[in-house]
Every structure is written in structure tokens, then in C-alpha cells.
Amino acid sequence: MFNAVFSQLILVLTLIKIFFNLKGEIMRKSLFMVLSSILLIVGGQAAFSGGHSVTLDDVKARGNLLCGVSTGAPGFATIDDSGKDVGFDVDYCRALAAAIFGDPMAVKFVGLTSAVRFTALAAGEVDILARNTTWTYSRDTDLKQTFLGVNYYDGQGFMVKKDLGVNSTLELDGATVCIQVGTTTELNLADYFKENGMSYEPVPTADNAESQQQYLAGACDTYTTDASALHGTRVNLENPDDHLVLPEIISKEPLGPLVRHGDDNWADIGRWVLNALIIAEEKGITQSNIDSWKDTKDAEIHRLLGTGDDDILAMVGLPKNAMYNAIKAGGNYGEIFENNLGATSGINIERGVNASWTKGGILYSPPFR
């Protein structure tokens, strides 16, 4: 980088000389300098580096976390009446910010549409993407991203108006389907209708809000996206009872936060904040009782909350009480789920497979040691 700047400097100076000092002797020198600086530029290793810095240092230096969230997915990321960001994905980012800074409010949320989210992450506009994004092979490998785990096991569903008289997705032959562009749901939709020998007409939309508007205007018969988002959308409609989320789930959609390839330490931090929230639920540590575990005999809890002698969080560059702060911010996984998606929120999504493995679900964190 120094090389490039230096040679550009020479170039500019030389050009100035050429135009203001047209004398033979100097000319010859200048010509030589121009040519040599060109050689420097072409031959020199002049690449501005884009990816070697450590994300954690950047975040700490900036003083806040840049978290990419949905532009409006009820239950996952929305803005409440007082203008505050709320939601399942939002709470995860707050926990991460609390782990780093001890302050759950040290996050700046960046609303991203499904079409621009990966570009924004790759370009460094956000540090982490928690935007109900499905973990797939090609996104993990070809798009050069690292998924940190699954924070919600979802699947693609369909919502219809009740007066359409449709009770199963298999009755949707010939239907017009509203779908957000650039999502995995788009590919699942094509595959599902093809497998079942049905035809459909896609109506591509930019985001959830536009899909919803098109669906309500009747420009499409059915709206398809992740079932969790459909449930969230439905309860916010004027007459939720006029709409029906069809029972079929046509795909696996494991949603999770993700970061760029190449900064394993940063990925570890994000992954273990998520795991800490899951372990906290497993162990019964909640936002309100978190301070009452100082005398527990469970060594894992001491490691997790930083109340023991070991300071294992120093390994990733976090303070000893980072996970304590993370859990304190919005509660454990179960509390975050309840507040944003469960009964407390009004969206009323059952825990189902998203329950802890100790309660019949498939949520399972590796041990914290």
C-alpha cells in the first residue's frame, strides 16, 4: 500500500514538473521518473488489503456492533411503537454486544433486504448477519461465509385467505404465488411444484412488506416464505382469522447467524454467545435468577458466568463475565423465544423442534469447557 501511494505521489509531482518546467535536462529526468513510477505501480504489490484485520478489533475500536437484520420480519426483527429494534434476531445481536461491551445497546442495526444481505456482509457493511438466513451448502462454501449455528429450525410454508377454499398446498395447481426474490424459498418453490406436477405463476417481490401488500390486494393467491415469518405476518394482519397457514412444510430451513469467511476468532465469539444462551436455558439460568448461581457446584456454570477461577473467555478476547452479560441482556434462549415468538409476543409459535434437547426438541449445544 505504501508502494502505491508513494509511486502515485512521484507521478503527480512529475506531471507538475512537466507542465511547469519544460526544460530539456529536467525533462529527461522527469520522463525517467514517470516511466519508473509506472513500473512501480504495475509491478509493485499494490493491493489495498481488504480482509486481514480482525473483526473484533474493528468492533471494539468503533465502539458498537453492526448487525444486519431483516427490514421487517415480525418476531425476528421489527421496530416497536417507541422506535426500538425488537425481535428474535435483534436480541441475539444485543446479547453479542453485551458480551463484547457489557452493554446490550451498543449495536447499530442495519436493515437488509434478502437480496442485498450477503453482499453487505461480504463488503464489511455489517459485522454479523442475523437475518433469518437459511444455512445451505452453497452459502456456506461458494458464498464464503461461516454459519455460527442454528438459532431457529424453520421450514417453508404457505399462507392463503380462508375464502379461497384451499386446505392443502397440493390444491394450489395454477396458483399465483408471491415470493421474495433472492431467497432459498424461491428454489424450494420451483422444486416442490415440479415434483408434484403442478404449475404456478411467481410474483417476485422485494421484501416481506411488499409480499404482504400484494397478497392482501389479491395480486397473488398465496404467499410463501418461512413458516415462522408467515405466523408473524398473519397475527399482524387486520383480520388474522381470515387467513390460514397451510399445514404442509415443504423444506428444511435452519436459520442462523453468519459471518464472513476468514476470521475464525470472530466466528467463535458469535457461535459461543449463541451456545451460551442455549446452555443457559438448559441449566435454568434466567435473566432474573442469574445472580443467584454464585454458590452452585456445577463447574460449567462457573465457567459460563465467569464466577470461577478459570478465565476461558480470554482465549477469544472477551472479558471474563462476557457470557454473564450476554444472558443478562435479554435472558436465555427460551426467554428470547418466548418474548419474541411465543405466547408473550402474541405470535404464538410453539417451541416444537426448537425446544431444548432435554425437553424433546433438537436444540443442543456442545459443552462449554
Partner: protein, 405 residues
């Protein structure tokens, strides 16, 4: 006194490249060119290095992979098993369709409005001013979204056509259905023998053109008007009608009908297409109208007065005297408006119209993560189309410019 020695031919020195005015211009150009190339290569090199740092390479192989997504409006066969390359091509055709139809209507409308704005009728002139200022001064994206919203919110759903006493009915003898998913028109079906029918029709048209030319020639030479109008109409209609029945009605219309959730058959113009084309045409027509007005006003008033003194009526003056001269002024700025319309069509994504920006630059880019490659291809495409449009119109422009002898 000694005769002055013949001027000594100075031997060439390297420094003369910059000190000598004979060479300086050229050598400075060469230097600038070298710098330009170097900066360009440095940028490319820098990009590639940074991509390598991110672990990405530059590859266009994704164009040959299965796309996996469906596109609603396709002018060529395409399904989710087709390649990303074909999806891009479907998008390109959709872009060109909007550009062509949009330019066509923008020109006609622009010409019309531009002339009417010069009308002596106060109301007409003011109405046209309002039209022009309204469309010209609001961003085209807003017009696109607005027209799309009107089309989807205020038209009946296909469901409304159902039942014994439907809320909505089809227009024009049950042939056109306007719904909130688009408008369905009857589609022509070309049966056996339609080739001969079309051939006879084209022949009739050619004969009419020949007659018109002959009549014009007669008029130029003798000043006599030949009655061509009714003859032309007979020549076009009679043989075509005769062949139509002789060949057993080879061309029929396929009417759209309601089946299941939607109308089937017929030509389906989606609301996204209608909104985009309409908005672009209206928006651009406002600019074209101003160009037309400028072109007409630039023709000196003396021309109108001279024509009037010869006894020509106002619309003849416009068609025969003013417009042909005004065209020379109108056409060059018209090109840039055609280019603008074509490039503005990339706003299609706002209404979910699957143009090349929506397929290659939207879904393909998103599913494959090949941002750089997709964007380069897109830029290359728009560049080629723009250059093509300008060269075609420049050629047309040259054909009627005044030849300076």
C-alpha cells in the same frame, strides 16, 4: 561576407520529445495513454488481489449451471432446469421488450403532446403543459410504483369473474379480462394455410405502396391527384378476406377463460409489465414533447407564413413543411431519451418485472454470489444496447440531414 551555412539538421535527442513542439503533443499523449493503461491495470490487479484475499475467484462458469428458479414472463422456453445463462437471456429479452414498446409509445405520445402544447387553444396548451411538468418533474420510480399500485388495487381479482352473477365482467364481447394480475387479451392462433393468407396480405400491402408511389410521381409531374384511397382499401381488404374464407378460416382467436385460480390462454400482459412500460413511456414522452416543441419553434415563422400564403391548410403546413425540417433538430436529442428509457427499465425490480437486472443481476447474483461477474455482464449488456440504439438512430439521422453541396 560569408554566405550563411545551410541550416544544420539537428540530430534527434531524447529530450526533444518534450522540449520540441513538433513532438511534444504526441509524446504527451503517449505518456497520458500509458498512465491511463497503468491505472486501469492497477485497478484490475487490485480487485483480483482483494478477491483472492477473500478467497474468491473470477469465473463465469455459473452461467452454465442449473438456475433452479422460475420466471413468470418468458419470451423463449425456460424452466427451473434451464441454466443461469438462459435465465439471463430471458431477462435480456424482457428488457428489450419493455424498451421497444416503451420507446414506441413515448415517441408517438411525445410527438402528439409536443405539437398540442403549441396549440392556439388555451385549454389544450395548458393541459399539455400540466401533463409535461407533471411527468417530467416526478422521479420515474414513483410513477412506476404508483401505476403498479393503481393497477393492482383498483382492478378485480380473477375470483370476481366467477359465479352466476359475477362482480366483474370481461370487456369487448367477453374477450378482454382486466384483473389485478394483469390483462388478458385474445391470442391469434395460426392454423394450416395461414402462411398463404399472410403472404397475400403482404403482397396487397406492397401493391398499395407501389400505387402510392406511382400516384406521387404523377402528382409531382402533372400536378394531378389520383384517387388512391378507396382503391388501396379495396386492394388490401378484398383478397385477404377472399383467401380467409377460401382457406377455411386459418387464423382464429383464442379467448382467455377462467380456470382454477387464474385466467388461462390468450395473451397475458402482467401488471408489472404494464406498469413499467406505461410509466416509462409517459415519463419519457414528457421529455420528447419538449424536444418536439423546441424543434418546431426553431423553424422560422416565415416558413409557416410562406406556406400559408400558398394556400396550405394548417395541418398540411405542419406535416409537409414544419415537421420534416424540425425532425433534423429533434432526432439527435431523441437518441439520449431512448437511451434513458432503456436504462431506466432497470427499475423493473420495483414492481417485480423480471428484466435482465432482475434475473442476472438479481436472483442469479444472489443464488450464486457472483456479484462482480454479474455486474460486469450487466454493464456490458447495457453498454452494447445503448451503442446499438445510438448507431441505428444516427444512421437514420444522417439519411435526412441537409446535404451540403
Amino acid at each position: 561576407m560569408k554566405a550563411s551555412a545551410p541550416p544544420k539538421i539537428e540530430s534527434f535527442k531524447l529530450s526533444m520529445l518534450l522540449s520540441d513542439t513538433r513532438y511534444r503533443g504526441t509524446s504527451l499523449q503517449v505518456i497520458t495513454f500509458i498512465i491511463f493503461v497503468a491505472v486501469f491495470f492497477w485497478l484490475v490487479d487490485n480487485t483480483l488481489k482483494n478477491l483472492a484475499l477473500l478467497g474468491k475467484d473470477v469465473s463465469f462458469n455459473f452461467l452454465f449451471l442449473r438456475a433452479g428458479y422460475d420466471i413468470n414472463q418468458r419470451l423463449i422456453p425456460y424452466n427451473s432446469d434451464s441454466t443461469h445463462g438462459r435465465a439471463a437471456f430471458v431477462g435480456i429479452l424482457n428488457t428489450l421488450l419493455v424498451a421497444l414498446v416503451g420507446c414506441f409509445f413515448a415517441t408517438i405520445l411525445g410527438l402528439f403532446v409536443g405539437i398540442l402544447r403549441l396549440s392556439k387553444n388555451w385549454l389544450v396548451a395548458k393541459l399539455m403543459s400540466i401533463y409535461i411538468e407533471g411527468f417530467r418533474n416526478v422521479p420515474v420510480l414513483l410513477w412506476i410504483v404508483m401505476i403498479f399500485a393503481l393497477l393492482t388495487e383498483f382492478t378485480p381479482a380473477p375470483k370476481a369473474f366467477k359465479g352466476a352473477d359475477p362482480q366483474a365482467t370481461m370487456l369487448l364481447f367477453d374477450s378482454i379480462a382486466v384483473t389485478n394480475r394483469g390483462t388478458y387479451f385474445p391470442a391469434p392462433i395460426f392454423g394450416e394455410g395461414s402462411f398463404w393468407l399472410l403472404l397475400s396480405f403482404i403482397l396487397s400491402v406492397l401493391i398499395v405502396i407501389f400505387i402510392k408511389k406511382y400516384a406521387n410521381k404523377q402528382k409531382n409531374e402533372t400536378g394531378k391527384n389520383l384517387p388512391t384511397f378507396w382503391i388501396s382499401i379495396l386492394i388490401i381488404i378484398l383478397p385477404t378476406l377472399g383467401f380467409y374464407f377460401l382457406l377455411g378460416k386459418p387464423i382464429s382467436l383464442e379467448y382467455p377463460y377462467l380456470k382454477g385460480f387464474n385466467f388461462k390462454d390468450g395473451i397475458h400482459l402482467r401488471n408489472s409489465f404494464l406498469a413499467l412500460t406505461l410509466a416509462l413511456a409517459l415519463y419519457t414522452s414528457a421529455f420528447i414533447a419538449e424536444i418536439v416543441r423546441a424543434g418546431i419553434l426553431a423553424i422560422s415563422k416565415g416558413q409557416t407564413e410562406a406556406a400559408a400564403s400558398l394556400g396550405l391548410r394548417p395541418n398540411k403546413i405542419m406535416n409537409l413543411i414544419i415537421l420534416p425540417q424540425a425532425l433534423r433538430i429533434i432526432v439527435p436529442p431523441l437518441i439520449s431519451n431512448y437511451l434513458n428509457l432503456t436504462k431506466n427499465s432497470s427499475l423493473a425490480i420495483a414492481v417485480g418485472y423480471m428484466d435482465v437486472r432482475g434475473t442476472l443481476g438479481g436472483i442469479t447474483l444472489n443464488q450464486t454470489g457472483r456479484e462482480l461477474e454479474s455486474m460486469l455482464l450487466l454493464m456490458g449488456f447495457y453498454l452494447c444496447v445503448s451503442l446499438l440504439i445510438s448507431s441505428v438512430i444516427n444512421y437514420y439521422n444522417r439519411s435526412f440531414q441537409i446535404v451540403v453541396r
